[in-house]
Symmetry: D2
Subunit: 258 residues, 4 copies
């Protein structure tokens, strides 16, 4: 029952659709010359020096998410925006099943509409939005939550896209952050879920047009989220099996799994 | 903002895969000569005399769930077991989208593994089971919940299939019932969710081999669930739309929708 | 199991400490010449024409909340601010026990620090605040919740005291409203709880220095909250009693209570 | 923001009313010659070798819970049954305020009716019971929860007092265990809450008449609960303070606390 990462490094993969970057959007490349994923990965490496952090993109074979690679991924970060429909259903199923079996998933910003997130939520994940470069304040409403550790109250992000309620998500298992915007809107910007044996965290700050992933406090949240989402036991499939009467009496203490 | 059913009858559709019955399973036909759906529908009619209650089955064109019919369905009951994979994805998407837009859904027993339920939950919905005809007790843990109104504590079901934890569902928004079985297992047997603008209730008692849907208390739960799941406003799509600054100042009181 | 108010009018009592008014605070009396409670009560009367709505204040014997009166109160509204400590513990215990037995309680604004509310929450109920007459926007995050029915998204309150997070309350059973303020803060401004057999709703808009209780949308929320908090069964005490084996087999269907 | 126990041992205090033992109940002394607290403390010492584990009882001055001692207690265990009313309100307030400021609290069995627990819950905490020495099965419904780590599914306790629903507690923040009893009842036997900055865990197995605290799996749960409830930041009071406009802009990153 020991954590899988006790005897090896924490294995983090940062996935980015990498389309804004690939097609040469000047604003995006200004902030992220090598892609958002590289900045996010560098931040995670700095804060988790013992971890193995790598990246994957839509353009790679199987989007860089082969079954073999996912099998040893502890936490997957997901950034997508304009190419959600280009992600193959086979890879999405693979990601969803990995979460069910214990993999952590951290979904970023416009990933709210991604296939893996909407399939894990079961809702439309729709929201209100406005790209007006306005100030976002990220308030902590779970002060002792590990994802909020070391994070100021509020985080001040000078320029950001606005995401506003109603955000059509299931009731979160844990609400960590609420954001307000200069225009007056509010958004549940940091929400946590269990899905099967895996943990899912959605964090909304991070539009491609603003340097949000360079923000030290945002990086701290991402690093905290990676630690929080990491599995605590070996990955396993949940199945529906018949159980004869008194099946639980046959084993010794500690032998059955939930 | 008035409830859609204020000016017309509550419209309930009971869907059944109807496969055990169609292929002539003697035990099932013994309890339900015209199919489980007819017994459930009759019970709902009796308890909601003003409602319009009809049935639909897998074998009908589009499984009896055309877009036109679903558009005016307030609450859909769903019973499936051996033919989940035979339900067309197109119809499933239609059902899921109707829930997102406000339709109520009541999922019964082995429907835990149905396509609409697993898509709305985002988990595997796996569980433990044993068909040994043992006593199930259904305990209320939300005494004032409308779905538990008029229901004894516990409901005693003399013979039932056992469903046991771990039941791989998201944390319920509301837990109404917990069941215990003679063999010692426990199951979260009555759980409620919001998905989009619609309500979803899962209720596990009801195997095809036992006359559970003839049980007066079970019928009461189903009738309560229909009332609880009925939409309270007109169906509408949730979408992600841009909103200019101060969009909310233009309208008068009561004009914006969440 | 029928609702207690089916055969008689819904009985609402609006309690106000009535201290700002009694001591002649000019601003408060400007908005509420006869006290905030009279304005709230008038609004409830208008929206629930069939209900019996009365008021009670700190200055009355037993603060107007005798055992006899509370025994038939369906929903109690509570407004307090500077005199929380002047409310007798005996009356507070009476209120708390009435909630446990099924009475609804709607706590307003600075009532977050009242004895009944803090005793029902079990937390400090502390928060951040600033009285700067700034705009509050009240956003709905539970679009189909009955307390939000007919309410615009957002409610716009031109001038209000700011209440901000961290608001030290238990995780709400239901979150209905989130407020933002011109200064950038956020607040969980409409939160719902079950405590025993009773329902509790806290709604923060409503400082004594601003005419918030004259606001049509705020009045609508209060009326909705009264309907939501009203008990659905006869009041009863929850106790710890011994139960012999098979106690539940002796009665007929529907005879046991949770 | 580092955990307070990083630079010193985890400090656990096991409190027992110690009345059954003091008055010489033969059955209790048969299982626990030196009191239940000594067996619990020994188990915690064994599983947390680096921790400082001590005991306190009702009979000591200030019940062994002086302000000074509580100030450095990370996790307090609480066992009470027949002497809840003999615990001084002053000490209870001290315990509750310590929880609000970050101390962990683990409440055991008949402690459901203790003053600290009922004050933190805000409900009656009533339940059904029967002392018939029947088998209890403790099922995990949160398989990856740290309190369930290494625990079999189910834990089998051969003889126990029955505690049954309806258990009048607020909706738990996390449900970890459900128990069933040979007589058919069910109980939410492992439930977790946040109250202020502190964590509270209630675990029902453990009647004085049965050797439950000698059970290896129960001991594992208690040890897990101690680790889970331990504070992650320095203790601090939550207060309601005025905040001028833009107060959050003055500090540098990481300087404000929620």
């Amino acid at each position: 029952m020991s954590a899988p990462t006790e005897s090896r490094p924490l294995n983090i993969v940062v996935w980015n659709e990498n389309v804004h970057e690939s097609r040469g959007d000047a604003t995006v490349l200004g902030h992220y010359p090598d892609g958002m994923h590289t900045v996010i990965a560098a931040a995670l490496r700095e804060q988790h020096p013992g971890a193995s952090v790598s990246t994957a993109t839509l353009q790679e074979p199987e989007h860089g998410l082969t079954a073999e690679r996912l099998a040893t991924t502890d936490v997957l970060f997901w950034w997508g925006h304009v190419a959600h429909q280009d992600v193959s259903d086979e890879v999405v199923t693979r990601v969803v099943e990995a979460v069910h079996a214990g993999m952590g998933l951290v979904v970023l910003h416009s990933g709210h509409y991604s296939k893996p997130f909407t399939r894990l939520m079961g809702t439309t994940c729709s929201l209100k939005w406005r790209n007006d470069g306005e100030r976002e304040l990220v308030w902590t409403i779970a002060p002792e939550h590990p994802i909020a550790a070391g994070v100021p109250h509020p985080i001040v992000i000078d320029r950001q896209e606005m995401y506003g309620e109603y955000f059509d998500i299931p009731r979160p298992d844990e609400e960590v952050f609420l954001s307000t915007f200069a225009g007056g809107e509010v958004f549940r910007s940091g929400v946590a879920y269990r899905r099967g044996l895996g943990r899912v965290f959605y964090f909304s700050p991070g539009d491609q047009e603003y340097p949000v992933y360079h923000h030290a406090d945002v990086q701290r949240v991402l690093a905290n989220a990676a630690a929080w989402a990491a599995p605590t036991s070996e990955r396993r499939q949940l199945t529906a099996d018949p159980h004869p009467r008194d099946w639980f009496l046959s084993g010794g203490s500690g032998t059955q799994e939930a």
